[in-house]
Every structure is written in structure tokens, then in C-alpha cells.
Symmetry: C2
Subunit: 300 residues, 2 copies
């Protein structure tokens, strides 16, 4: 192939992978040669119809040949499996990154597999919607959202990714895998777990009541169902791969909920008021920090 | 006063009360004579500045004199207290309604207080935002939202309220107080309780981590903080007044969460997948039922 451009391979064309492909096409048109692969043939078909990838690959092994940058946008549960398949073909000097929600597990799964002269620099875009699949993607999914890179701030390859993700509109932060997994356990994994759990509680109600839960869901419950409707494979893998941090946060949550339950049972008016009052502070900080969704990813 | 119009009194000018006032002004301009009262003098000042109430009253007792319809838009915890003050002045044949989130307690608190020839018809608009106070109100808060009336469908006074609330754009449903409190326990009260609880868990984290929770809140946690930022007095009163139904739903939720916790601890891949997969169904039903917020009440 007579190309001067750097080669990028995107493996996995779900919401995140297809959004990365779109972001390359939108923000960096023709700057890279983009190869894509997905093990769902329908996903490949859909992405082919977009006509924005330079090459649709038929095997994951071949997709990484000569690539300067390989992006694994796949569930964290299949990192080891895919890592094994691609590692013999990874180019010397290539950067291998991923977009998974757990980082310690990704490092454990991949670091022993990949050749010495390939640079593993895990990353995680804190972006998503409740929709999955290549049709759900959009080019500005990462705009104004954090993209965490697991490397030292002055690492050459980390810097390369930083520049790239900034082109997609992301705010880049560097941290280690342990801290990442802890932060995500409380900001994302536990909220999703709880949301799934309360939806399950509603699902188990007698049928009249269950229908009325749907009917009157706008009073709070609906927000939980949005969280509890994203990709089940992804979430299964998150909880299998960030088990320790999630169980720790869940333990703390259970203690807090039990204390609250006791206040309700005792009808402790003063303490209940204080409890409800205190949480406003953290909300105000979030509003100051402007952590809201971009328009395009809002609920339809 | 030489007026032919029916007189309406709105007591309590927070988000709900001030929105009702605005709705009267917008949809039924000059059709009723509207008197308002609030025990916060600043609220009265704010509402006076809107210049849409016919009369700003200085005492709650006097506010109901000659009124054909009295609307208590006050926390459920003060229903009895306010009921005592107004009952001697309630007009024969008047309808007394409220907007509280618990209905059994309102009936218990008011029914013995009010004169025999006054009609108590409790109601509950399933509408709100995370903001409080008279400035937070808007005339179409009730548009497309359910407004539940606690009466028989063919009750004359229930019908009067139905016609009124439909003018505000609401979908009216009739049910009894017991069923209402159960439905609200699972669709609203429990989700809010859990949201408050997880925000508390985050609040109790060591300070570095806590700051990063705010920073990275867009990954799920933010949705909880929105739920956990509405009026603390209102929520305290809800949990003091719907204790039994809430504790029952909380018990069920705890059982479901424990089961899920066990699956994570055991790393039960298949069961976790099934768990996450099942909850999509209820979400899809909600989307079909179009239980989304009107544009104006979306997050700013």
C-alpha cells in the first residue's frame, strides 16, 4: 500500500467505536488511513454503508497489520481474547489503546500478551448514551467530555493520544488505573448497578402496579430506566472486572441507605431534613463544573 | 366585593403553587378571582411582582373566606396545621384540594378538621423540577403530565377539578389514596430516597475522590444528584407520611440489590448478563408510553 498517512485500526464498531470513526472523519478527514473491524457482520455492513472507513477488514488478525494506532472499542470481557488474536501482527512501535470502563483489568489482560515494542496506553472516554450499536454513534459524542489516559502526563505515547482526543473535543486527564477504577466505581458503576436493581424491583411487581409504574414513571423512576438500558454485555463485563472497587462502594452505599431507612422508621424529622438538605451542596458543585450532556446525546 | 367570578385561593407559592397561579393566568385569564397566600413574606413579594394574582392575602385564615376552591400547595407535613387555621372560614360548598405527594396522610390530617359541607378532594400533579420557590414555576409545568384526583370518577367535585386540570394541559386519572401511595412509593419516593442516599455516600468520601466525583459525574452519578436536589422539606414530609409503602418497596429493593451483589461477588457471568438484559423491556415500554418531560422542564 503506497500511503504516507499513519494507519489507525478501530476494532469494535458499537456506539463508541463508530463514534470514534465518525470523529476521525469529521475532525481529521483524510489525515489518517482508517481500517475497521467488528465481529458482528451486520455492524460491518452498517459501517460500510456510511462510506467513511478506508478499509473494512474481514479478520481481526489482519486488521492490525501495519497499524500505527490500534483502538479496541470492545467490551472489557473480551480484551484478552482479542489481544491474543492481534498480538502477533502488531507493528513494532505501534500504540495500542482501548476505551473500556475498567482499566486495571485491561492492563492485566493485555500487558503480558503484547510484544515488547508495542506501547499499551489504555484510555477511557467518559461518554455514552443509553443506545448501542453503530447507528447510535455520532461524531461529537466526545465533545466537552473527559477522556482519561492511563499514563504519565509526559509519556510520548500518552501525549500522542492526548492530542488526538483533544481534536475530538475531549478534555484529557491522566491518572493511574487504580484511581480510575475507584472514581468510576462511584460515579458510574454503582449508579448503574442501583438503577438496574430498582428497575428489577419494579419488574417483579404484580402486573397492575407494574403497568402503572410505566405510566407514572416521569416522577423519578424514568431516570433510572435510562441508566438501566445500556448494553448488557458491557455492564456484565464492568462488574466482572471492577468487582473489588464496586463491592467496596456498594458496601458504603448500603450502610448509608440503612441509616436512612432507620431514620424513616423512627420518623426522625430533624435528621431526615438534614440528610435531604446536605446533598444539595454536591449538586451545586456539579452545576458549577458544568457536567451536563451535549445536546445531541440528550434523551429523544 | 362585587364580583360574579368564582373565587380560588392558592395557599403556598413554591414551584407548584406559583405554577398553578401562572396556569390560571395563562389558560383561564380573568375567568376566576385568584387570591394567594404564602407564609414566607419573600415568596409573597416575588408573586406580587408578577402582577397576576387578584389579591395577595396577609393571613392564611382570611385567604379562604368566600373561596369556592382552595388549593393547598404546601408540604404534606403542614396540612393539619394549615387545615386547623382555615377550617373555620371555609365556605359552605367549597372544594378543598391539595397537591401533596402522599394522599392517605392528607386525608387523615384534613378530613376530621373541615366542616361537613366542604368537599375534600385531594389531588396530586405528577410534575416538578429539581428547583423550588415561586421563581422556579412556569405556566406549562402540568402540560402532558398526569394529575391524579382522589375521588370516584363520577363525583361532581372530582369532575370540576378534572375539567380545571385539563385546562392546564394535564392528563387526569382517578384512584384511591392507598393505591396512589403505593404507586408513588415505587415510581417517585424510592428513586428519590436512593438518589439522596448515593449522593450521601459520595459526600462521605475522602476529599480528593469527592472532588473527582463531581468532575466525572457525567457518567451516571449526575442523574442521581438532580433527583437529590429538590426541596428538603417536601422530601422529609413525604417519607414521614408514606412510611409504610416506602419501607415495603425499600425492603424489596434491598433484596434485589443483595441478590445482584451476590452475583457480582460470585462473578456469575450468565446470571449477570440476564439481569442486565431484562431491564431493557421496561425501558422500552416507558419510551412507548412517552413519559418524557416537556422541553421547558428539562435540565438547564
Amino acid at each position: 500500500m503506497m500511503i504516507e498517512k499513519k494507519i489507525v485500526t478501530i476494532i469494535g464498531l458499537g456506539l463508541i467505536g463508530s463514534s470514534i470513526l465518525r470523529a476521525f472523519n469529521y475532525y481529521l478527514k483524510n489525515k489518517f488511513y482508517i481500517k475497521v473491524y467488528d465481529n458482528h457482520s451486520e455492524h460491518l455492513k452498517v459501517v460500510k454503508s456510511f462510506n467513511i472507513a478506508d478499509e473494512i477488514c474481514n479478520s481481526v488478525e489482519e486488521s492490525v497489520i501495519e497499524s500505527d494506532l490500534v483502538i479496541l472499542a470492545i467490551p472489557v470481557g473480551v480484551m484478552a481474547e482479542v489481544g491474543k488474536l492481534i498480538s502477533p501482527n502488531l507493528k513494532k512501535g505501534a500504540i495500542l489503546t482501548d476505551t473500556g470502563s475498567t482499566k486495571l483489568s485491561v492492563i492485566q489482560d493485555l500487558s503480558s500478551l503484547i510484544p515488547e515494542e508495542v506501547f499499551l496506553v489504555p484510555s477511557h472516554p467518559l461518554a455514552g448514551t443509553e443506545h448501542s450499536g453503530p447507528k447510535a454513534g455520532f461524531h461529537n459524542l466526545f465533545e466537552g467530555r473527559y477522556w482519561i489516559i492511563i499514563s504519565k502526563k509526559n509519556d510520548k505515547n500518552g501525549k500522542f493520544l492526548e492530542n488526538l482526543f483533544k481534536k475530538f473535543g475531549s478534555n484529557v486527564e491522566f491518572m493511574d488505573e487504580f484511581y480510575h477504577d475507584k472514581v468510576l466505581a462511584i460515579t458510574s458503576h454503582l449508579p448503574h448497578l442501583i438503577a438496574y436493581s430498582i428497575v428489577d424491583t419494579a419488574n417483579n411487581l404484580e402486573s397492575d402496579l407494574k403497568n402503572d409504574v410505566v405510566r407514572y414513571s416521569a416522577t423519578g423512576f424514568r431516570d433510572f430506566t435510562r441508566l438501566a438500558s445500556s448494553d448488557p454485555t458491557m455492564w456484565r463485563d464492568v462488574f466482572l472486572n471492577n468487582t473489588e472497587a464496586v463491592l467496596e462502594m456498594l458496601q458504603r452505599f448500603n450502610e448509608d441507605l440503612s441509616a436512612l431507612q432507620k431514620l424513616i422508621r423512627k420518623k426522625d424529622s430533624n435528621e431526615l431534613y438534614n440528610f435531604f438538605k446536605n446533598s444539595k451542596e454536591i449538586r451545586n458543585k456539579i452545576i458549577e463544573a458544568k457536567q451536563h450532556l451535549p445536546e445531541t446525546s440528550k434523551l429523544k
